[in-house]
Amino acid sequence: MTTSTPMPERVEVTVTVNGRKHRRQVEPRMHLADFLRHELGLTGTHIGCEQGVCGNCTVLVNGQAVKSCLIFAPQADGQRVTTVESLGEEEELHPLQQAFKDAHALQCGYCTPGFLMAAVAIAGEGRNPSREELREELSGVICRCTGYENIVTAVRRYLDEREEVEALGG
């Protein structure tokens, strides 16, 4: 090496992703989205802007929706991260995914994991916002194909069904 490198030292991070603990040595400047995609091979989390605007990389960190391009992997050390890969079973889609499918709430599908995780966060808080409130809450994720109508419909249906199931003691 003839030039002084700006490449920083690697640091160790341990992150629990979808219930499984992963330990990696990473550059401190690696953001969580890149960590998930390129260190762990969880490519369902998509990157659309790397500046916290498009929300396509939304994941849950300790149950809260977070834009994973806005935090560095070392900041996720010791945290619980949940990604789109956690949803659904081998043979069956998660009810939220099924609601998206039924409502034609995706076209190219690139932003979809971001919307799913944002909706999972809302459901996880046990809330059921109105259609208008939901529009506001989902506005952190950008879609260019669908015009959002069907996305809002899908999330509303899922939250309603969930509420019914809970009311029935399900």
Partner: protein, 691 residues
Amino acid sequence: MAEVVETTRTDPREGRIGSSISRKEDDRLLRGEGRFADDVDPGHCLHMAVGRCPFPHARILSIDVSEAVALDGVEDALVGADVVRRSDPISVLRPVADAPDLDFYAMATDVAVFEGHPVVSVAASSRHVAEDAIGLIEIDYEPLPHVFDVESAMDPRSPVLHPDVLKSNLLVRRLTGAGDPEARLAEADAVVEDRFSVNRVSALPMETRAIVAEWQPGARELTVRHSTQVPHLVRKQLAESLRLEDGAVRVIASDVGGGFGLKLGIYPEDVLASLHAMRTRRPVKWIEDRIEFFRASTQGRESVHKVRIGARADGQITGMFDAYAVDCGGYNSAMGSPQLTSHMFTGPYRVNDAGTEHSVILTNKSPVGAYRGYGQPESCFVRELLIDRLARRLDRDRVELRAQNMVRPEDMPWQSTSGATYDSGDYEACLRMAAQAIGYDDHVKQSRGPRADGRYVGVGLASFVERTGYGSSKFLAKRGSRFGAHESVTLRANRSGGVDVYNGVSTFGVGSETSFAQIVAEVIGIDFDAVRVHLGDTGASPLNTGGFASRTLIASAGALRRAGEELRDKILRIGAFMLDAGPEDAMISGGVVCLRQDPNACVSLAEVHDRAIINQGMPPGEEPGLEASAQFEPEGAAYGYGTAAALVSVDPETGDFDVERFVVVHDCGTPVNPVLIDGQVLGGLAQGYGQ
């Protein structure tokens, strides 16, 4: 005799043409298991970063990459001189007729003509290292005066972007039309005219551009994973620019995160990543970041229109003219600047004297390219605004004035002054349905004052005819196009009793895997689930044109039908032979071939297909195999049409406005999957709001 395999479907029309069956694409995308270009990390992959000119116009005096290439992890660097030596300029797939070629090399050499123009690139062990290396490159620029809009670009005192090819910044100017619009406008009882500036927009797909280029030195073949709507055109253009034979390039586009016209053909970075891969003999990945996207991906629409519409006192439109100038940016992009304004300017109206003057003007901005409508929404916008003003001038109702001038069903086929042949439709019916749905009559009866909540309310109307798909290659040939008008498919029966479909368009959101399967299920009679659609791999699909101009289904449906009929007939011949019957007595139903008179007498498709594949127990004279390829070229473009109506309220104090209701009435022909069509309309509408 095989076990009877019944379809599991209760509705026999499910999954056929007209069925809103849910999409084949959805499950993998919902699980985050799509395969976008950046989802693949080949072994030993290098990553490219691009250094870009920070000025809109600058002379490059010197570039020193020595520090960058000395950085640990950096494997290769390219500057403009290397690129010019090793590659040819990017070809324009749809040049404006009579426009000279501007040599758009993948990198600026002496002069960069737009902010973001590539001037250097590096391949390194990671994107971080590659960007570190770009930061270590010393570039000495001499900023030059620049032009940033079409009007200042035509000022004789303005700098000329390409003085070696052109005397001014006018790339080309073309007149089109028929009749004598100037005479009609001169004698008109009323003329409305104005100058309109249509702003520049970005198509902004959520997945940026992306390429992973792998060079196999032994075979001397290049395989690229690419985020594109047109894999076969990317293959052609890459081969041209890299001086390779077509056969040495394979392009794979699996899932593509949106296109909207932006991903038609190659960009400089595709050539650069490929050159790095060929030089280093390692895979090279480049994923455009969003800042690069805004600096160097094509943009859309920007133009200035000077429009005149003339009419008689009775409301009959007699003459129309649009002199418009398109801001091309610094170079022609792969698809080139929008052209359909000239073709569709007269819209749904019967006018015999109309024309356009189309100028393409170079400015120091990133190149424009195709974006939804490719010039048509611009012409619709300027025309419909002036039609409203004409109604006001003549004291006529806006709906009635439009209806009076619309091409009527009995006029069709109608040839417009630009040569467009409107095949069919009832334009007035759509207009009246839209007016009714938005409550137009009630609205015009109301007072012009504010509503109870203090807001003013207005209803807007716009009627359109939209050219979709491309007509024959004859149409394209007259315009110097370097692609064809047909689509091609291969259908291949498999031993599981299903049919594989191969086509060269990619999956970028419009649901082609689903609609193709619906057509194949309809034509052959097999189950929707038994059709598997493989898209976007030039190594596995017949040569085709690609997915743009709403042409995918228009052109592919014809090819699917032809190939499907050929396959169906052969399946029936073999199946009937196995049932000791003639093919006319047999039918395909779900997973079996059975006799029309006795559906219990049947053989499974798996068995029929297997016979053909291994060529055992075939009818005499039958060729082995069960596969069909077909092409289809539409004779003409398809002209979609309709009317949009909006109810808009405005706060007179603040100017805050709200689109309270929006109605679209359109006729899109035979719907293959109505829910997917509604999805396209909703999505297109949201993008339209963004304009």
